[in-house]
Symmetry: D2
């Protein structure tokens, strides 16, 4: 059993990468406001996220850097070897569903009025 739900803001520009046969992947980071008041230290947690296929395409279509979204999915771990030949261990959220709490198109429409 593995379930995660976050509401936060996308930290970086939305970019889709093609990986092999017609597969697309989107990597970004979600800034999630911490609970309660924090006197010092960060006001947010920065959670790496990854979305695949149709979910990734929808996010590219409707989201921009800084937009607030609700994400549901699961948490996963993986490791890779970097250029320095060190093993890097990653914990990240895999997105199953996106809920757009702010809309690039709606804002564009508002601007054009």
């Amino acid at each position: 059993m593995n379930q995660i739900g976050l509401v936060g803001r996308l930290v970086r520009e939305i970019e889709l990468k093609e990986v092999g046969e017609d597969k697309v992947v989107l990597n970004n980071t979600l800034a999630v406001a911490k609970r309660g008041k924090k006197e010092n230290g960060s006001q947010a947690d920065f959670i790496p996220i990854v979305a695949w296929g149709q979910v990734a395409k929808l996010m590219q279509l409707y989201c921009e850097k800084g937009h607030m979204v609700g994400l549901t999915g699961r948490i996963q771990s993986r490791s890779y070897v970097n250029k320095e030949e060190e093993t890097v261990f990653i914990v990240e959220m895999v997105v199953d569903e996106v809920h757009f709490l702010q809309n690039k198109k709606i804002e564009a429409a508002a601007v054009s009025k």
Copy 2:
């Protein structure tokens, strides 16, 4: 909004560390079975967890390495500088509640019959 729920097995021995004035902390890793069948690669995700105070004490009292537990809480990020003076970025689950799906005491009782 930041919510996570996992069911899995505790990977390491349960250890409490005292940190400053009467505060205790428990760090461990939860092995969570991946969804679906995996032909190759890992069958589980390994998620770092941290519990504080009363929750940590309850886990020490009732859990052992390998035990299955249900955990609810939130995901957080933090960074620290290691011995090599490199900044290490960590994503981990902060445990709010533990649900014991297996019990050290019950098992001990069963063994003693």
Copy 3:
């Protein structure tokens, strides 16, 4: 283990009731957009919610009918006997935390400009 997270809109005016010794309770309903497109039938699920004490007071302070909020908590069941002496069975969300995705005060400020 009992965990629920919803994002939706408050359907009714926010009202606090006093129940006994300094306890306050807030009952409302959250309209949560259904996933995917629905050709017919309702576009939303209507989930009864209940909040107590400080959480209830915060919701009264910051929310209005129609506002979007993120709620985390648990699901509970209870039953009561109504005026017709029938037993009514209720399933509702108990709110642990509210995340204000829209703000009564901010909007008021914007209006006053």
Copy 4:
């Protein structure tokens, strides 16, 4: 955004109903232990659940009345008119995934040794 995760025990015998063209549905109730100690009143919440198609078939194959399962999914509301021509309002969990924390087949195998 609509996400729920529960661990509890199935209250009734597992039954699949056929509804129209090759569709199957499973209705049951999950007894979920309440948090903390309760001096009086119920020790559990009773949450109606519904599963469709493949999920329902897997539950029939692997679960029995009384078994502990982890369920993830969403909460929905619906209403219907009963035999007394009264409108009945239902709040229930729609199951997306089942996690078997106890296994009918494993137990049967253990018994047969």
